[in-house]
């Protein structure tokens, strides 16, 4: 039996929480917003052709795995990321690594995750958690979403690691092997901010970044006429679920990013980043307002409480604010 001395800290977002906690175990202190910001986790994309639970996919974050890989790379931390063809191999390797006293991060699907809150148990393959020990057929798990430590059986763990579907995890596991003694955060922060600013404003494609928000706003105006009130409410609900639900720490990561900008301003000693953080916080509150008014449409079936034009205008406002922020942030030195 192995049970490592791993400190469980609850976090808003699963992947940046896992990154922060794993580095904490190896003796390097980094906050969750910092890991998220350096990993350039903030994003927006609206993909109407990719249906998820019968509605178009809206995403407020980058691809799964990017935050960990980018953050550790920028900090000079050496990591190992593995995928396996055979499920049994992946479990054998997991035990091997745990024997070396290294906690391991895993990408899992949430549908069969036994300890997970039942309201979230839909087919979603981008969840991350840490295994920090095992006993005979029992694994000890630290999930940053939960406020306590949990366990999972061998068979269940095997099933969630090999969940199939969109973004199938394929037994993906990752862990840091070497953490340098003194890390210079400044270039990492600057590069992270630049990357995010470019993702949000610099990509010439209409479905992502602030252009994507405007695109969604245009589509939203047509929903009620094209789809009927019931389906329109469901589509709106899907956007809100991606915005507020599990793992976004509120308002689609905008709060967490604001906290990062505030911290970054302190480290880089640049006063204007603090102002940006305030603007980001206000934008996040706008997003929250949007989800508040939007959820009233989802409440009564078929009866729109707020008109979709009103909601689309709120989205446009958010897009304008974010574009202003990221155009400024792109000039960081």
């Amino acid at each position: 039996m192995i049970k490592l001395d791993y400190e469980h800290r609850q976090a808003g977002h699963c992947e940046s929480g896992v990154t922060s906690n794993l580095l904490h175990y190896h003796g390097y202190e980094i906050s969750e917003p910092m890991a998220f910001g350096i990993g350039a986790g903030l994003f927006f994309s609206y993909l109407p052709f990719l249906k998820m639970q019968h509605a178009p996919t809206t995403s407020f974050r980058v691809w799964p795995g990017m935050v960990f890989e980018r953050a550790t790379k920028m900090l000079g931390v050496k990591t190992v990321v593995l995928r396996f063809r055979k499920p049994e191999d992946s479990m054998k390797k997991l035990n091997e690594i745990l024997d070396q006293k290294i906690p391991v991060g895993l990408q899992v699907g949430t549908y069969n995750l036994t300890f997970f809150p039942p309201e979230y148990r839909m087919h979603y393959n981008m969840h991350n958690m840490v295994v920090y020990g095992y006993d005979d057929k029992i694994y000890f798990v630290s999930d940053t979403l939960m406020d306590r430590l949990v366990t999972i059986t061998y068979d269940d763990l095997l099933r969630v690691r090999y969940a199939k579907g969109v973004f199938a995890p394929m037994g993906r596991m990752y862990y840091p092997t070497y953490v340098p003694k003194d890390i210079d955060l400044k270039p990492a922060i600057i590069s992270g901010i630049r990357k995010t600013a470019n993702n949000m404003t610099g990509v010439p494609f209409p479905l992502i970044g602030t252009k994507g928000i405007r695109f969604l706003s245009r589509r939203m105006r047509k929903w009620e006429r094209k789809l009927g009130p019931e389906k329109a409410a469901y589509y709106l609900g899907q956007v809100l679920r991606m915005l507020e639900e599990v793992g976004t720490a509120g308002a689609g990561f905008r709060f967490i990013y604001g906290a990062f900008l505030e911290e970054a301003g302190g480290i880089l000693k640049q006063e204007w980043l603090r102002e940006m953080a305030i603007e980001m916080g206000e934008t996040a509150n706008k997003w929250r307002e949007f989800s508040y008014y939007g959820s009233r449409n989802c409440k009564k079936r078929g009866k729109a409480d707020q008109s979709y034009d009103f909601l689309a205008d709120m989205l446009l406002d958010c897009a304008d604010r974010e574009e202003k922020i990221f155009r400024k942030l792109a000039k960081i030195k």
Partner: protein, 131 residues
């Protein structure tokens, strides 16, 4: 949205977990709070589950009326769509869609049926009817 009063859910198992949420207040501070779900989250999550239950009920009615095969019912029950069902079972998408017709489903070989039972984690007798 974070709130320390626990709103009432239709399903008593829902809404029991406390989560960490960030927020921004008027004074310009970012704060972390741990708490239960607020009203907004309850509404949008409940909407999703209502939608799923509705689809399951509709599928059940259609199977009992003989319009579609039981595969549709079990697909909806496992919150899947045809594409993810085909990924999960390893049967190609157009074949999965074909198996939605009762006439085609009734003459399937056992080998194909076993793929579905393994996916839905049920026995062969259960697959042939809906309870």
């Amino acid at each position: 949205m974070c709130d320390n009063s626990n709103p009432v859910y239709k399903d008593p198992r829902h809404g029991q977990s406390r989560e960490l949420i960030y927020s921004y207040d008027k004074d310009g501070n970012f704060e972390k709070t741990v708490g239960f779900h607020g009203e907004t989250d309850r509404v949008i999550l409940q909407q999703a589950w209502d939608h799923f239950h509705e689809r399951i009920q509709l599928a059940k009615d259609q199977v009992l009326a003989g319009k579609v095969s039981p595969v549709v019912y079990y697909m909806e029950k496992n919150l899947l769509d045809p594409l993810s069902l085909s990924m999960l079972s390893g049967i190609s998408l157009w074949r999965v869609k074909r198996h939605f017709k009762p006439f085609i489903f009734n003459r399937l070989r056992e080998k194909t049926l076993l793929k579905y039972t393994a996916t839905f984690n049920i026995s062969l007798d259960q697959l042939k009817k809906v309870e």
